[in-house]
């Protein structure tokens, strides 16, 4: 029953949930290469991270980990739809902690990021990293951060 409700909500508000971003007007459209570089940097900064995706203003997946990037788009839309529907207002951040892991979703600068981490990840740090990644990615003079080779294999 709940799954059916989610499917209905997804169909109804997939586009709407992304266009309700509080500062959507400030959005610039980053290239997929920039989004991938930003995602790689976010992954490198967060040792608890299992997977993540960066989404554009229309809900399209700009970059995602794993082999099914389109699923990130669908499921992130469902999460934002459920979150916006809770009080009928667009949310800025979502944090759901389950027994299997934790899910974070952030809207910032007209973009959105979704991450999945291990349990007991430090929420404030995770949300801060996601917000700053999106803010940097949306800025017109974004340059991909240089990869720190010395941290390779840490963790």
């Amino acid at each position: 029953m709940t799954t059916v409700m989610i499917q209905e909500a997804r169909a109804r508000v997939t586009v709407g949930s992304f266009s309700q971003m509080p500062d959507a007007a400030a959005a610039t459209v980053p290239s997929e290469e920039s989004a991938e570089a930003a995602l790689e940097f976010l992954t490198e900064m967060s040792p608890d991270l299992r997977g993540a995706a960066i989404l554009g203003a229309g809900g399209e997946v700009l970059a995602g980990t794993g082999g099914e990037p389109e699923r990130w788009g669908e499921d992130a839309a469902a999460l934002f739809a459920a979150a916006d529907g809770a009080e009928g207002k667009p949310v800025e951040q979502v944090h759901v902690a389950t027994e299997q892991g934790e899910v974070f979703a952030v809207r910032n600068a007209g973009l959105a990021a979704v991450t999945v981490t291990d349990r007991f990840a430090l929420a404030s740090l995770m949300l801060f990293d996601m917000r700053s990644t999106l803010r940097q990615l949306a800025s017109p003079n974004f340059t991909p951060p240089e990869r720190d080779e010395s941290r390779k294999g840490d963790g």
């Binding site: 299992r50 499921d75 992130a76 999460l79 979150a83 759901v96 999945v116 007991f120």
Partner: protein
């Protein structure tokens, strides 16, 4: 009866603090229940219980995302 050697006192104290910290972390893991928290502009946040309608939708959506992310790759 001779007093314990100073370095042993120090070691014992450190290990007592370490045991306390470990117990605190264990209690935190056991006590922490699943939750869904939404943050709105201007810093307001709201918790949604798992058995509420909105909470259930959030947990279902989060479960799908966890499935997409899969297991963490070691190394």
């Amino acid at each position: 009866m001779t007093p314990p050697k100073p370095h042993r006192v120090l070691l014992e104290r450190v290990s007592v603090y370490a045991d306390e910290a470990a117990a605190f972390m264990r209690r935190r893991r056991v006590a922490r229940r699943p939750f869904a928290r939404l943050y709105y502009p201007h810093g307001r946040s709201a918790d949604h219980a798992q058995n509420s309608r909105s909470g259930a939708e959030l947990f279902v959506a989060a479960g799908r995302l966890i499935e997409v992310a899969g297991k963490k790759q070691k190394g």
